[in-house]
Assembly symmetry: C2
Homo-oligomer: 473 residues x 2
Amino acid sequence: MAAATVAGNRKAAVLGGGVIGGGWVARFLLMGWDVSVFDPDPEAPRKIAAVLDNAKRSLPGLYEHRLPDQGTLSIAATLEEAVREAEWIAECVPERLDIKQKVYAQIQGACDTKAIIASSTSGFKPSELQAGASRPEQILVAHPFNPVYLIPLVELVGVEQTVLRAREVLEGLGMFPLHVRKEIDAHIADRFLEAVWREGLWLIKDGIATTQEIDDAIRYGFGLRWAQMGLFETYRVAGGEAGMAHFMAQFGPALKWPWTKLMDVPDLTDELVDTIASQSDAQSGHHSIRELERIRDDNLVSMMRGLKIQNWGAGELLNNVDKTLSKLSRRDTAGLIKTIERVIPIDWTDYNGHMNDSRYAQVFSDAADAVMQIIGADAAYIDAGQSYFTVDTRVQYLDECHAGDEIIVSSKVVNGEGKKLELTHQMHHLDGRLLSTAEQLLIHVDLTTRKSSLPSEVVASKLAAIANSHQQL
Amino acid sequence: MAAATVAGNRKAAVLGGGVIGGGWVARFLLMGWDVSVFDPDPEAPRKIAAVLDNAKRSLPGLYEHRLPDQGTLSIAATLEEAVREAEWIAECVPERLDIKQKVYAQIQGACDTKAIIASSTSGFKPSELQAGASRPEQILVAHPFNPVYLIPLVELVGVEQTVLRAREVLEGLGMFPLHVRKEIDAHIADRFLEAVWREGLWLIKDGIATTQEIDDAIRYGFGLRWAQMGLFETYRVAGGEAGMAHFMAQFGPALKWPWTKLMDVPDLTDELVDTIASQSDAQSGHHSIRELERIRDDNLVSMMRGLKIQNWGAGELLNNVDKTLSKLSRRDTAGLIKTIERVIPIDWTDYNGHMNDSRYAQVFSDAADAVMQIIGADAAYIDAGQSYFTVDTRVQYLDECHAGDEIIVSSKVVNGEGKKLELTHQMHHLDGRLLSTAEQLLIHVDLTTRKSSLPSEVVASKLAAIANSHQQL
C-alpha cells in the first residue's frame, strides 16, 4: 500500500490501527489528506481496510457535493517514517501512561517541531501526557467518538495555541472540536458516559432492567432529545417562558429527593442557580421558548423520519403505525383509486414551509406504489422476482402547499396492456384546490434479467379490470 | 369547548393541563380519541391549545397516511364529569403523594371500575400511589417524556394485568410502552437523567464547562449514538466480533480507574459480566458486528441528514462543510454547466440500495437551484422578493444507481427569454453511463403577488449570455 504523497496534499500520521485509529485514517483520507499508519500488528492493514470500507459507504453521502479526491494511504515500516513531515500525528496506542510517554519521546525525535501530536485518550489529562516531553506544548488531547468517521465531536484539551491550530484542522475534516478549558480526568463527555454506565450496571445487577430494556429506555426517549439539544437546552424548553432559574426553582426541590436517595448532588445554592441560568440565557436566550419548542419538534420529526427510512428504533415504530393507518384510509373515490391521503411533513419543506418540488414527485412515486399494491404487484411479488420500473414521469405544478396541509391523490390507469402501465394522478389539497398532476409510464421488469417482461396472469387480469372500469370514466 | 362525544370514539380523561397533560391531550385527540380535561387553573385551556397547536403541526407528518379524524376536546367543570365513562384517566397533578392519593379516591368514586388510572409521575412507585385506594390494581405509572406528542417512550409500572391493557392503548397511540418489571424510585430512564444532571451540576459548579459546552458534548457526540442504539448495543459494536464479555474484559479494567475516582461502581464479578453478556446476546446476537456497524452508520447518516434539513446541530455542521465543498466542485464542462457532482446517500435508497425514483427528481430540482445561483437568482435575490418557480418537469429514467455511487449532472439553458426558463439536464454515473435526463420549465415569479413577472436586468442579461453560448452547442 506504500505510495508517494500527491504533491500539495497535507499529511497525517496515525499511530495504532484499531477502531479509533482506523476511524481517523478514514476521516483524513476521505477529506483529501495523505495518511501514513504505523502499527506493529500484522492484522492492522486488514482492520483499517474494514473501517475505511464502512466510512466510504456512509461519509461521502452526508454532503450535497463531492468531497475532495481521496488521499493516499501508506503503511509505514517504522514510527519515524510515519510521522516524518506529518502535520497531524494521531496517537491511538493503548491506554497506559508509560507506553504513551515513551511513544511521545520517539515521535518528538523524528517529527516536525510544528506538528500537532494529538492523543485519542479518553481518560488522561494533557499534563500527564506531557510530563517529561521535550516540547510539551506540542502534545494535546483530541478525544474522538466511535465511529470517528461519522460522529462530529472531538474534545480538545491542551495549550491554547496548539488547541487553536488543532481546531482549524478538525473543522476542515467536518468535525466539531470542543475546547475543554480545564483539564479533568475523562474530559467532559466521558464523565456522562461513565455516570450512565455505572447506573446501568446497578440496574442490571439489581435485576431491575436488562440491557435491551435500558437501551429501549434511552433510544425511544431522551436519546432522541439529546441528539439535537442536549441536556440544558431541553430543560430550558421544559421550564417555559420564565427561563432556566424558574425551571430549577420549580423542579429542583421536587427532583431532589429521589436524587439524594441515589447519590450526592451539589447544593442548589443561589449562586449555582444564577450561574446556570445566565449560561443558559447566553446559550439559548436569542430564541423564545415557543421558537425552541418548534425547533425541537422539527428536529425530532426529521430525525425520526430518517430512522423510518432505516426501519429502526423510533422509525420502525412509525412504520408499524403506518401499516394500521393504510388499512383505514385506502378506499375508492368517484371510480378512481385514492392512492395517497396524507399530511405534508416538516422535512419536505423549505425554510418558508412550502413543499419542495421534488417531494411532489415523491408523492406520485408513492401513488404508483399504491397502484402496484392494488393490482397485486406487492412486496411478495417483488420478492418473487418481478416488478414495475418507472421509465418516464411528467409533473405539472399548479399550486403551492405547506407543512401540515393534507393532500389526496386520485390515480387512473390509462393503459395496462402488455408490459406497459400508464398512470395519471391528480393531487388535491383537502380544501379542494388542484395542486399538481402527473403522468407516469412504468414497464414490467424481470428482476433477474433486469429486462422488460410480461406481468403474471393474476396481475394482468386485475390490471385489465381496473383499466376497463377507468376507461368508462 | 364542551361538546358531545362522537359515537364510537374512545374517551380519555386528562387531569391537569400543563405541559405533560397537554401532551397527553394532543396524542389522544390526534389519534381519534375524545378527551375531557379537568384543571381548576383558568389558564389551562389556553395552555392546552398551545401544546395542541405544536402537536398538530408536527405529529401528523410523521406518518405516510392520514390519521383518524381528530376526536373532540371538552373542558369538564368537575373531575367527576371528566372521568365518567373514560377508558383511560391520565393523572398529571403536582408531584405530591398526598395530593395524588386524594385525587385517586375522588376518581375511583366516579370512574368505570375497568378504567385505567395512569399516573404521569416521574418519581413515585405504584405501591406508594396505590396505598389506601379502594381498587389499587386500577392505578399504575405511565411515565411519558416531553414532548409527549412526539417522544415514543412511556414507562409502565404496575400490576401485570393492568400493564397489558395499558400497553394496547399506548401502542394504539403510536407510543413505545416499556414494562418496568420491578418498581423503583424514578423508574429507569430518570435514573439516567438524574445521574447526568448531577454530573452536569458538578461540572458547572467546578467551572469545568458551561451549559452550552455540556450540551455540545452531548448533541455532537453520544446523543447521536443513543437516539438509535442506546448504551449497551453501542458498546457491543465497539467490542467487535468477540462480543460483550470480551468488551467488558478489555475495557472494564482500563475504564475502572477514572470511574472509581468519581464514584462507586458495582464490582465487575464474573456473574455480572455473564449476565450482561448473555442479555446483550439475546438483544443483538442475531446481527453480526459488521451488520450492526452498518445499521448504526445508516441510522447516523439518516438522522444527521434529517438535522441538515433543519440546519441544526450536527446538521448545521454538514451544511457549513457543503459551503466549502460547493466552491471546490462547481465548474463548467464542455460548455454546459456542471450543476451537480455528488454521492448518492444511504437515505435516498430502497432496501436493495437502489436510488428511489423520486430522488432523481430531487437531483434535477437541485440542478435547477444551481442554475439559479449562477444567473444571480440566489438567496439574496429571493429574500428581495423574486424567484423562479418550477411549473413542469419531465424525467426519463434510463439506468439504475446505488448508495455510494458518484453522479454528475450537466445542465443546459434551452430558453431564457422573458419570464421563462427552460432547462434540460443529463445525469451521468462517474463510470460514464447516462442514468437519466430531464426537461424543466420554470417561470419567474414576484413573491409578493405570487404572480409571474420579468426577472431583474442583471439576471436577464446573465441568462441571455448563457443561453446564447448554449445555443452554439
